[in-house]
């Protein structure tokens, strides 16, 4: 999509807004319903598991707090990357894009560790309703993070090849919108799943 940007930014639009950015906000709105439905499912089935392990026996708050912190920091790196690209500082831009992606990878590594630890503790996908709702909700979020990391790395490679500049700032901005949205979803999940047991 990198190449569309140039054209898009120079197009006249009736609302004076970038079309891709508008489509992306609509997409994020749509995602709210996706996660809303998943979170509803989690909450509706809360406490209806027939067998353990139950949430309070297995969720590791200190560890997940670190993951949350990691994702918040990646959001910070993302805005810094965007600001750098917008002012044409591609050196900084490249750096912060890479940092964002790496922080995303750290989060995914943490989630991988958490999942395998839970499986080891006896909580599989089909063990009980808590397991099913937990894995599907956090797994969907993890899939979003994975896509985000791939996207960020693609941008970083583009930047390394000198094909990303202030003219494509909109592409970076949209990537950022996606990344921050994934972050706010985690903010909700952290509270609803981990802290409110």
């Amino acid at each position: 999509m990198a190449h569309d940007t140039h054209a898009a930014t120079h197009h006249h639009t009736s609302m004076g807004l970038d079309s891709r950015k508008m489509a992306f906000w609509a997409f994020i709105g749509s995602e709210c319903l996706l996660f809303g439905s998943l979170i509803s499912t989690y909450l509706v089935y809360k406490g209806r598991s027939l067998v353990g392990p139950y949430p309070h026996e297995i969720l590791n708050i200190p560890f997940t707090s670190f993951s949350t912190f990691d994702l918040l920091m990646s959001s910070l790196a993302m805005v810094l990357a965007l600001a750098a690209v917008q002012r044409g500082d591609m050196k900084q831009g490249k750096l912060w894009l890479l940092v964002t992606a790496l922080l995303g990878l750290v989060f995914l590594g943490g989630q991988f560790w958490e999942f395998s630890h839970f499986v080891h503790e006896g909580l599989g996908l089909t063990t009980n309703l808590f397991g099913s709702t937990f894995y599907v909700l956090t797994g969907t979020h993890g899939a979003h993070v994975t896509i985000g990391v791939i996207w960020l790395l693609t941008l970083w490679v583009q930047a390394l090849r000198g094909k990303l500049g202030p003219a494509n700032a909109m592409t970076v901005e949209i990537t950022g919108l996606y990344w921050h949205f994934v972050d706010v979803v985690w903010i909700v999940i952290f509270t609803v799943v981990y802290l409110i047991q």
Binding site: L17, W25, L33, G36, F69, M78, G176, H180, V184, L195
Partner: protein
């Protein structure tokens, strides 16, 4: 581009927001471990998480500075999603209570 010319957040703002987000997260985890807060834990956590949510959306996603229409595109479905969660909780926990009560 309409974004240009509007007040943009600076790097300083981003860092301050990050600091606040980390602090709130620390408070959340802290509250979680303090037995005295157990009674009000749920509302406190929900409020704190809503604050974090709002900060990220407003500053990192620039919704505070950006065109109001984006806020509508995001906020409308967000409220709808929230309504879905709340009404399903009412329906499921409501019927459970009615069933056991009768």
């Amino acid at each position: 581009m309409s974004e240009q010319g509007q007040a943009h957040a600076t790097t300083g703002t981003y860092l301050r927001i990050a600091a606040i987000l980390v602090m709130i997260t620390l408070i959340e985890v802290g509250v979680f471990y303090v037995p005295a807060f157990q009674a009000v834990l749920v509302p406190v956590l929900l409020v704190l998480s809503a604050v974090k949510f709002t900060l990220v959306v407003m500053f990192y996603m620039h919704l505070k500075f950006d065109n109001k229409f984006f806020a509508f595109l995001f906020g409308g479905p967000l409220l709808l999603g929230l309504a879905v969660v709340v009404s399903l909780l009412f329906i499921f926990y409501g019927t459970v209570r009615l069933r056991t009560g009768s």
